[in-house]
């Protein structure tokens, strides 16, 4: 069913006091697409993700996920529908070990009744999560408190937690920010490899144009809360206004 729309955003608008954080955003994303969002700081990239995942509520417009309206739902329900996200600033349980972080994510992805009262550190779960850690190549840190591991590891953990549940639509907010340039590709390879067999639709926010070019088949360019350009990477990155407002500084 490739091509069937998984996310349809219509005339999405968000005002903070007088500031327009999102203006009349119209975008449709199809199943198994890999979309990258670019834009200068304050262009409304994260706001867009926050709106779709219910962290903040829009001032107007509609967000439909497989035809179901998301506006008004709290993040937990949107998550349960299969829309997951990772964060620009990794959102992990800082005093808990990396493994525990993942086990909690894993445990909460279990929908069964009274699942909450099953033991957290059950043998199967420990194995499953150790497995996941190795997929993300962070098994070495398994027993360290999340607060004390390198930023890159925390980033990956954050993503691993976001993907613990079988996500249909996955948002990655700057997956490589705060990671040394030479490691960025490695990290992205890991992530993309991990997501490859998931058949998940992936939308990631990215500043690094090389990453965008390499992974984002389709690119959305944000500017002042609106979408400046939307299309295949090459076209969008070639677009004059995009060069001017988004990538220009970087290329000059």
């Amino acid at each position: 069913m490739t091509g069937a729309p998984v996310l349809e955003v219509r005339r999405l608008t968000k005002l903070f006091d007088q500031v327009v954080a999102a203006r009349d955003i119209d975008v449709t994303i199809a199943t198994e697409e890999v979309v990258s969002i670019i834009g200068a700081n304050g262009a409304g990239k994260t706001t867009f993700v926050n709106l779709v995942t219910g962290y903040t509520h829009p001032s107007g417009g509609s967000i439909r996920f497989r035809g179901q309206e998301l506006v008004g739902l709290p993040p937990r329900e949107i998550t349960r529908l299969g829309v997951c996200r990772s964060f620009q600033v990794p959102q992990v349980f800082s005093t808990m070990s990396v493994l525990e972080n993942l086990m909690i994510a894993h445990g909460l992805s279990d929908r069964g009744r009274g699942a909450g009262l099953s033991a957290l550190a059950s043998r199967d779960r420990v194995e499953a999560c150790a497995e996941l850690l190795s997929v993300y190549r962070i098994e070495a840190y398994r027993d360290r408190p999340a607060a004390l591991v390198p930023q890159g590891v925390r980033k990956l953990l954050d993503i691993a937690m976001a993907t613990a549940r079988e996500a249909t639509l996955l948002f990655l907010d700057e997956p490589t920010s705060g990671i040394a340039t030479e490691e960025k590709f490695a990290v992205m390879d890991i992530v993309m490899a991990a997501l490859a067999e998931r058949k998940a639709t992936v939308v990631f926010i990215e500043h690094d144009i090389d990453i965008v070019e390499r992974y984002g088949r389709r690119v959305l360019a944000f500017h002042e809360g609106g979408i400046l350009a939307d299309g295949p990477a090459a076209d969008v990155l070639g677009d004059a206004r995009v060069r001017e407002h988004v990538t220009g500084r970087r290329r000059a």
């Binding site: 995942t53 962290y55 709290p74 993040p75 937990r76 329900e77 998550t79 349960r80 997951c84 996200r85 959102q91 992990v92 349980f93 800082s94 005093t95 808990m96 525990e100 909690i104 994510a105 445990g107 909460l108 992805s109 699942a115 909450g116 009262l117 099953s118 033991a119 957290l120 550190a121 937690m161 976001a162 613990a164 549940r165």
Partner: protein
């Protein structure tokens, strides 16, 4: 898991020792241990909340509910069986907790503390206004029976003591199991990062609600046991200073283990008793200094001190 079995063993050991001790302790000590263990049971509930960064400044509400449930059951329904009464205390508090929980789950930090304080003080005001229940003087609770048998004061006290020890051990075991579950582990998760819990598809409020009801149930049972041990109940059970004392014990104990609150509560009881004996006019100061010292030098409470010793050894 292995860790659980050990705590279980430790609890079993403690249970045996305490029950045995019950036969040769003087009655003042028995009464002190009963009250301390009961206080420990309440603190146990507070420990669970504390792990997710929440503190109820109104736990005395459920403590008093448990006490008055016993008192009224004895007064109006002529119920005196200590086990039945304890169950009644738990039930009453649980019901109220489940109801109020729908509100409390929306609150965090100091606001959680303040709203719980508000509820407990409202109940206090209600009791003070109820002259038929003796207002601030309260009323005496008839001596409890067991399985319909009215035994000698000594036997009754010993049985009540054993019941309290059993209740404490049971509570500790149950909470220990709970903390091993996903839900139980979410407490720290919540404290660390509520947003992430939300984005893992779970309602943080639900965790808090469960914790709140758990705390209420424990406090209710403890209140029931206390009422029977003291033989008298009055509104001061619900006053904010009682809640303060309960939080006091929680901080003193530390959250390192389900055994901590009982240790802390026992230490508190003895500290107060001997402070009263040797410095009857400045015992408050002694308690205050003790609490400050703990906060400043033992952030993890008494338990952490014992663990630190172990680490050194």
């Amino acid at each position: 898991m292995a860790a659980r079995d050990r705590t279980g063993a430790a609890l079993a050991g403690a249970f045996v020792v305490f029950v045995a001790a019950g036969f040769f302790l003087p009655s003042w000590a028995v009464s002190l241990v009963i009250l301390s263990l009961a206080r420990g049971i309440v603190a146990l509930g507070l420990v669970v909340q504390f792990r997710s960064g929440l503190v109820s400044f109104g736990q005395a509400l459920f403590f008093a509910i448990g006490g008055y449930a016993v008192g009224l059951a004895g007064l109006k329904l002529r119920l005196t069986d200590m086990i039945v009464l304890t169950v009644i205390g738990v039930a009453a508090a649980t019901l109220l907790g489940a109801g109020l929980g729908f509100l409390m789950r929306r609150y965090r930090e100091i606001f959680f503390a303040m709203l719980s304080l508000g509820f407990s003080m409202l109940f206090y005001g209600l009791l003070v206004k109820t002259e038929t229940l003796g207002s601030t003087d309260g009323f005496n609770v008839p001596a409890p029976t067991i399985f319909g048998a009215r035994l000698s004061a000594l036997a009754t006290r010993t049985l009540l003591y054993d019941l309290t020890v059993a209740a404490a051990a049971g509570a500790a075991l149950g909470v220990h199991w709970y903390l091993g579950t996903i839900l139980g582990r979410l407490d720290t998760a919540l404290r660390d990062n509520e947003v992430r819990v939300e984005y893992l598809g779970y309602a943080p409020g639900r965790v808090i609600h469960v914790q709140y009801v758990l705390g209420a149930a424990l406090a209710g049972g403890a209140g029931a046991l206390t009422a029977m041990a003291v033989g008298h109940i009055d509104p001061s059970m619900a006053y904010w200073t009682t809640s303060g004392e309960l939080v006091f014990v929680t901080i003193l104990s530390g959250t390192g283990s389900v055994l901590a609150p009982f240790l802390g509560s026992l230490v508190f009881g003895l500290l107060q008793t001997y402070a009263l004996q040797y410095a009857p006019s400045v015992w408050q100061m002694i308690l205050g200094v003790a609490l400050l010292a703990i906060i400043l030098y033992l952030p993890g409470g008494l338990w952490s001190a014992l663990e630190r010793n172990r680490a050194r050894a």
